[in-house]
């Protein structure tokens, strides 16, 4: 691993394009985090995010230097370790906003569920890569579901439904690409539809509210609908060129909710306008396409499914978060990778990036 970092080859093969895109996104996020916390302690928010971004880049290099085959080899051990962390956080974690999902380490916090996501990506990739048939059998599908399901159940128990949901696209992308019979695909969709009412009954009231107000935000303009309405106002008020940095009234006067974390994209839209939105969306699209197009290159299926998993995670985060700020998706506490304020989110994204680079670098070994 240290050998790799010192070798010239590593630096030549490194995916500088992907890293540049990630740093560009991180910079946009950093600027708007500063802007949206002006009337709080903006220097502190800015510096922390900067530290995480720098640390993220470092972690990215470290992860990239590790051959993903080695990770896959020891994945069972790592998986069990991650499960232990998830159980541990349920027992000893600190409660933030009603969810027991954090380990406090000094003033920094660690969210084991984010780490578990990456572990699941590699575990699932190994599981799927060892199957070489056109279509998966039912036991195989159930096996894949089990790999995902165990951490999901532990995350739901925290309870953190939003993060639990982010495991779903990893599984879905993997199963779809590995191959599910059309009949099984359809019956799977049907089962989900039939389970909806059951799920609805199991939801907490605030979760039902969020879904109801997603359908009709004006029904509760002061409650759950308030955030969506204010976010849409911020976006619309931005216009073509935006209100200018530090000039967005929705942002600066506090009308936007959780604006430096979940709603950071609304701040981008208000202060940088449609132009800023297009640039940011283009960067996000470049990130996703660069990632997923790696799967189109020849290589082993293990690498393909790892890249696919990371890509699925990115896609899901981006579509759900950006969809949420503009009212196309219900409100879930899912951050925007590289932009939203938060150490766990930033580090997870950069570790994912490191995995991709690792695959790109090591896929011909064998």
């Amino acid at each position: 691993m240290i050998d790799a970092l010192t070798s010239r080859r590593f630096w030549q093969d490194f995916d500088w394009f992907l890293l540049s895109v990630a740093i560009a996104l991180g910079t946009i996020g950093l600027i708007e985090i500063y802007s949206s916390t002006l009337n709080m302690d903006s220097a502190s928010f800015f510096l922390r995010q900067l530290v995480w971004l720098v640390a993220g880049v470092g972690v990215c290099f470290v992860v990239a230097s590790v051959d993903y085959h080695i990770l896959a080899e020891h994945i069972v051990l790592i998986y069990v370790g991650a499960m232990c962390l998830l159980v541990g956080v349920l027992l000893f974690g600190s409660t933030v906003a009603g969810s027991r999902s954090w380990f406090g380490i000094g003033s920094f916090g660690l969210q084991p569920s984010e780490l578990a996501k990456l572990v699941v990506i590699v575990a699932l990739a190994r599981f799927l890569s060892e199957i070489q048939k056109r279509y998966l059998t039912l036991p195989q599908i159930l096996g894949a579901c089990a790999i995902c399901g165990a951490p999901v159940l532990l995350v739901v128990a925290q309870p953190d439904l939003g993060t639990a949901l982010t495991f779903v696209p990893i599984l879905a992308f993997g199963l779809f690409v590995r191959g599910v019979r059309p009949a099984a695909l359809i019956s799977g969709v049907l089962i989900v539809i039939f389970l909806l009412p059951v799920t609805w009954a199991a939801l907490e009231d605030y979760q039902k509210d969020r879904i109801l107000t997603f359908v009709q935000p004006e029904s509760d303009p002061l409650g759950s609908g308030y955030q969506v309405i204010q976010s849409k106002i911020a976006i619309g008020a931005g216009g073509l060129w935006g209100t200018g940095l530090f000039q967005g009234s929705q942002n600066q006067l506090g009308f936007l909710p959780t604006r430096h974390t979940d709603f950071i994209f609304s701040v981008v839209a208000e202060e940088m306008g449609f132009v800023g939105v297009c640039v940011t969306l283009a960067l996000l699209l470049a990130l996703v396409f660069r990632t997923l197009s790696l799967t189109l290159l020849p290589g082993d299926t293990l690498g393909l499914f790892i890249v696919l998993g990371v890509g699925g995670m990115f896609v899901f985060h981006i579509l759900v978060n950006v969809g949420m700020v503009i009212g196309f998706m219900p409100i879930t506490g899912i951050p925007l990778p590289f932009l939203s304020y938060g150490g766990s989110s930033v580090l997870t994204a950069f570790i994912g990036l490191g995995l991709i680079v690792s695959v790109r670098r090591c896929r011909y070994v064998n």
Binding site: Q132, R134, F173, F176, V177, R178, G179, P221, L222, Q230, K232, I233, A234, I235, G236, A237, G238, G239, L240, S249, Q250, L253, G254, F255, A269, G273, F274, V277, C278, L281, L284, L285, V288, F289, L292, S293, T295, L296, P298, G299, D300, T301, L304, L308, V315, L319, V322, G323, I326, G327, F328, N366
Partner: protein, 618 residues
């Protein structure tokens, strides 16, 4: 190891995902285009509305003065409680539950004030309570950060230091009603604004109102002010100087006391109203503080109807006072001669009906002077019979009756002078000559407002000149932006002999052995005429107070060149000489004393401080 065809298979599936991702990004981009380009102006407006709040700065209403610049109405600062539902962290009910303990109004009353506005946009402020007490203000002030949806608004409030004095003339102010808002009568007035609702407050509202200012501020999500964008200072309302003389007004109010009635004093040559009293009165301050429902109900249900301005809004039979107009018409039409005498045997028969004189034994031979002095009915029955209803009607209307005087107060009644045409159109029957006999002594369908009668007699005794009665001179208010066509002045032809005869006769009625001797003022040559208007037929039990006759007196002085005319009306007051003439005396006495420098201004405060009890013997 990967087989080529398998890789292709997996790649084809990844391509499907890429296609879907591209589609999803396309949809998102369209969403942003729709918000940021297509509908941007709409959202910009919403953002503005979020951040900008216009705080009204209420303009103090102008003061109302009497002719000697003594304040009748002015303004003082006060605080209103305002609710703005927009951006509130709690429901209206929750807000009210938090407020109710510190506010005099109950939670139910507060809710009922909000209900009519629930359909209005949420950023529209709703007035919850007016003129908070010191304790209430402190309660709200202490919670202003906790209850960000609640604010205090400085609002100057009307002050009427003299209580009921000149109440009907001032009128009152109140929050504009929904129907008034929709009528468009008031320009540049918004919901919650206070406007004049009656009297001078209403008549000259546009002058007194002033222009509210605006403080445009930037607020954050908690409604806290973050900066000032601009300020337009309110323009205070303009002051109104009236023709009223507070000394005369107070004298008249005191003289009328608790009785139901009217006293009016006018300068007939200029139309200036010196005093205008209607009793019982109300306290306009009740309205200035935002009248409580039960207080309003009490005023409305009071059988004595204190809200009515009887001087201009009620019509009454003029009784014997009408004989003055009969005398003038008879002389002008030469139906009676100046020296001609008629014999009064105590009654007379016309068209088969017997009509009595008030003196059963009769007055004997009477000329027009004596007939007026002694108020002989039979004499005027004859005059009326000779003139006929058409000529009576024509003269009465010419001399100012049966039509609005045009005083600058809202809600004036026109009174009624009957004619053949009127009878035909209202009851579809023709006029019977017998009806004319009753009209001749001011009974029957003829009716007048007290102001009208006073004004018409004033016009007659100055030689046939009617100047529109007024409390504010058009020459004074026109430069202040009030549309006016100037003072309407009418002159009608009437012989000097007729006027002199009437003036002399009416002097006699007060100073000779007439009916109005209690209107005399030492040193001031007063003329006048009493009247007693029957409420119902005489034979009903006369002891019932509500069936007592109405008492009239209209006087003027000096009789040969009148400067002032005073009309007094006392509802169910009995005889005019006893009930009404002393009120005129009190007013004229003050006028005369002021003229002679015997009356000092300081007295006005003493009088205002007194309980307005009748100090004049009835």
């Amino acid at each position: 190891m990967l087989q080529r065809n398998e890789l292709e298979l997996l790649n084809s599936r990844v391509t499907i995902i890429l296609g879907l991702v591209l589609l999803a990004f396309g949809v998102l981009t369209f969403g942003f285009w729709n918000h940021q380009i297509a509908r941007s102006p709409y959202y910009q407006q919403l953002a503005e509305r979020n951040r900008i709040r216009d705080i009204p700065l209420a303009a103090p209403r102008g003061r109302i003065y009497d002719r000697e610049y003594r304040i009748i109405a002015d303004s003082r600062p006060s605080f209103n409680l305002i609710l703005t539902r927009e951006n509130s962290a709690r429901s209206v009910e929750e807000t009210i539950d938090l407020l109710a303990p510190g506010i005099e109004l109950s939670a139910a009353e507060l809710l009922s004030r909000i209900e009519p506005y629930l359909d209005e946009p949420e950023y529209e402020p709703i007035l919850l309570a007016e003129d908070l007490s010191v304790d209430e203000t402190a309660f709200v002030e202490a919670r202003k950060y906790e209850l960000s949806e609640i604010s205090l608004e400085l609002s100057p409030r009307r002050r009427y230091e003299r209580g009921e004095v000149a109440a009907h003339l001032i009128g009152y102010v109140g929050e504009i009603t929904r129907s008034q808002l929709e009528s468009g009568e008031f320009v540049e007035i918004e919901s919650g604004d206070v406007v004049g609702q009656s009297g001078l407050e209403r008549q000259y509202d546009s002058l007194l109102q002033g222009e509210d200012g605006i403080r445009r501020v930037i607020v954050n999500t908690f409604g806290r002010e973050m900066g000032l964008l601009g300020e337009v200072q309110p323009i205070p309302g303009k002051d109104l100087v009236t023709t009223l003389d507070l000394d005369l007004q107070l004298a008249a109010e005191e003289a009328l006391g608790d009785r139901t009635g009217v006293a009016v004093a006018i300068i007939p040559k200029t139309g200036e109203v010196l005093a205008l009293v209607s009793r019982p009165a109300f306290d306009p301050s009740l309205f200035a503080q935002g009248i409580r429902q039960h207080e309003w109900d009490m005023l409305l249900s009071d059988p004595r109807k204190p809200l009515q301005n009887r001087a201009i809004q009620n019509r009454y039979s003029p009784g014997s006072v009408f004989k003055i107009f009969m005398a003038a018409a008879g002389l002008e039409e030469e139906e009676i001669g100046f020296e001609e005498t008629l014999f009064c045997p105590g009654h007379a028969v016309f068209y088969g009906n017997r009509f009595d004189c008030w003196r059963g034994g009769g007055h004997g031979a009477m000329d027009v002077r004596h007939a007026l002095v002694e108020s002989c009915n039979v004499f005027f029955y004859n005059v009326g019979d000779r003139l006929g209803i058409e000529r009576i009607s024509r003269y009465a209307v010419m001399m100012g009756l049966g039509r609005k005087t045009g005083i600058d107060l809202p809600g004036e009644d026109a009174g009624l002078i009957p004619s053949e045409k009127w009878k035909q159109s209202t009851s579809n029957t023709r006029w019977f000559p017998g009806e004319t006999i009753s009209v001749s002594i001011g009974q029957g369908p003829v009716s007048v407002t007290p102001l009208q009668l006073t004004w018409a007699i004033g016009g007659l005794v100055v030689g046939g000149k009617l100047v529109q009665p007024h409390l504010a001179d058009p020459e004074f208010v026109a430069p202040l932006g009030i549309e006016t066509s100037g003072l309407r002045t009418e002159e009608y032809a009437i012989g000097e002999g007729t006027v002199d005869t009437i003036r002399e006769a009416l002097w006699g009625a007060v100073n000779d052995r007439g009916t109005g001797t209690r209107a005399r003022v030492r040193g001031f040559e007063v003329g006048g005429k009493t009247g007693t208007a029957q409420v119902v037929a005489k034979d009903v039990d006369p002891s019932r107070p509500d069936l007592q006759d109405h008492a009239w007196f209209v006087g003027f002085a000096p009789y040969d060149d009148p400067e002032i005319v005073v009309g007094v009306f006392v509802e169910n007051g009995g005889g005019g000489g006893a009930a009404a003439a002393p009120v005129s005396q009190a007013v004229m006495q003050v006028y005369f004393d002021k003229k002679g420098g015997l009356f000092t201004q300081g007295d006005v405060n003493d009088i205002a401080g007194l309980n307005t009890e009748t100090s004049i013997a009835r």
